[in-house]
Amino acid sequence: MCQQPTNDAEKQPSLHHARRNFLKQTSALTALALAPSVVMKAAEKKLDEKAAGFFEQKTLNIEVNGKAHQLSVEPRATLLDVLRENLHLTGSKKGCDLGQCGACTVHVDGKRVLSCLSLAVMQNGKKITTIEGLQQGDQLHPMQEAFIKHDGFQCGYCTPGQIMSAVACISEGHAGTDNEIREYMSGNICRCGAYPNIVDAISEVAKKGGSRD
């Protein structure tokens, strides 16, 4: 869905043109054979121009886990896809891709959000923290330690999202009681049902006076 990052903005126009022409010359058959629904739809609607526009890129400056990046992304790329595909930060998980599970939770300018419903272009100039950015050197974040100690996971798929959400839950001041933790962690679904242990982990970190972000 997204291209590899192109750090050299200068190269953009020519690359761009080459791709545009390439796409225009590609026979409809090839497109049909490879058949992503969107190309079919574009072809049906005779939206050649729109299909060619797939490669229209925008410059995106973001800081991820303290490191500045200049990327070139399509407007339709989500932050989740850019993190995973372009920056190879695969800690943030794609569960539902529709805002329903919380597996893709990251912090944008210190606030927890769903990266699957965030367009990457809209994050220009922002600071992103992912699960990979929580630890300091070899030292795990207290919330990561607590999840291990309390067995806050089984398969682990929801865990990065749970931990990002848990850190925010405490910094927002919503970890006062177990019930409050449950309510403010309700945006993170765990199919393995590790909920009681997740609540224990968060509650312990909250009682110890919070967490480092």
Partner: protein, 338 residues
């Protein structure tokens, strides 16, 4: 190679232009194209685009406009349309003067979504009717005159008030139910003048054109909402939301209630319901009935019966005919402390 790599991947969204204006005027101009749409938090629009329900050719990102302020203006609280749902819910002015709005917002979606969702986007969010999202099914709202999959289908979440032959969907917002109860006003910019629309007239019933959810005209921009301060209502208000799980689910039914008491007598009252109609549903008949009456279980029951007078069900949502009045009575009991 790149193309092949890309083609193999799921590519659900047709690409589009993206612009980010910094002034209201530029935003309005940029959104004049027929297939241009504003985007704010993106929590509804990006979802709809991924599923192919909406295919804009241009997104006009309005998050660079100065529209996120929350302030007291005379006897009103003004809330900018870009104020985040989480920020509004926890804002001191809102908690003090409009606790009903704060409660309704907290009951919606999840903390992550509330950190992205804006007031304007919340008002404009589309129905969660499953057939609306399913491109293989007929839906008059998505594709005018294709039929309504829900009427004879699985309509457990659907309307009991004000539906039409064409559409029986509900508006899914919690926030809007509180704003309708509190007699808010919507402020709308169209480049010429600032239009003011009473909140209860902002959303519309499906009628013969369910493709339109509300009375906003194409290209108009919601700049904010104004909510009158009412000290009595601030003391006595409650939002009750009934859903399939304890949190992070849309309402089956919800009730927003605000009371002004004079001893045991109800001096003034506002009642609205969510999850029951194509718009936040004000219970004006029940309000009229309860005014100047004593806050008693019998009166509450009578009011709930009056409120349900025009209700109809479509099969799977029949349970709402019982759940709705029970929720009204429960909310009023709790609020009146009886």
């Amino acid at each position: 190679m790149l193309l092949v790599k890309w083609l193999k991947k799921e590519a659900p969204v047709i690409n589009f232009d993206y612009v980010k204006p910094t002034t209201e005027q530029n935003a309005l101009t940029a959104c004049k194209d027929p297939l241009a749409q504003f985007i704010a938090g993106g929590t509804n629009l990006v979802d709809l685009m991924k599923r192919g329900v909406t295919n804009p050719e241009k997104l006009v990102d309005i998050t660079g406009l100065p529209m996120s302020n929350i302030e007291q203006k005379g006897d009103n609280i003004f809330i900018g349309s870009l104020a985040l749902n989480s920020v509004v819910a926890e804002h001191e002015l809102i908690k003090k003067h409009l606790p009903l709005l704060s409660q309704a917002l907290q009951a919606g979606a999840s903390p992550q979504i509330r950190n992205m969702a804006t007031v304007g986007g919340n008002m404009m969010q589309r129905t969660r009717c499953g057939y609306f999202y399913d491109l293989s099914m007929p839906c008059n709202k998505r594709t005018p005159n294709s039929g309504c999959g829900a009427k004879e289908g699985y309509n457990r979440m659907h309307a009991i008030f004000g539906a039409s032959d064409k559409c029986i969907a509900v508006h899914p917002s919690d926030m809007c139910v509180a704003l309708a109860a509190l007699d808010a006003t919507v402020l709308i910019a169209n480049g010429k003048l600032l239009r003011r629309v009473p909140f209860k007239d902002f959303h519309k019933l499906p009628g013969s054109n369910p493709e339109k959810d509300n009375n906003l005209l194409k290209g108009e921009l919601i700049t904010g909402v104004e909510v009158p301060i009412n000290a009595a209502f601030a003391q006595h208000s409650l939002y009750t939301k009934i859903r399939d799980r304890a949190s992070y689910a849309f309402a089956l039914v919800s009730v927003a209630a605000a009371l002004e008491m004079n001893g045991k007598t109800i001096k003034d009252i506002r009642l609205a319901m969510g999850g029951v109609a194509h718009k936040p549903w004000r219970l004006t008949t029940a309000e009229q009935f309860l005014k100047s009456k004593e806050a008693t279980p019998a009166n509450f029951k009578q009011a709930a019966m009056l409120a349900l007078k025009d209700a109809t069900s479509y099969g799977h949502n029949q349970f709402k005919l019982t759940l709705a009045p029970n929720t009204i009575v429960h909310t009023l009991h709790t609020l009146a402390g009886i």
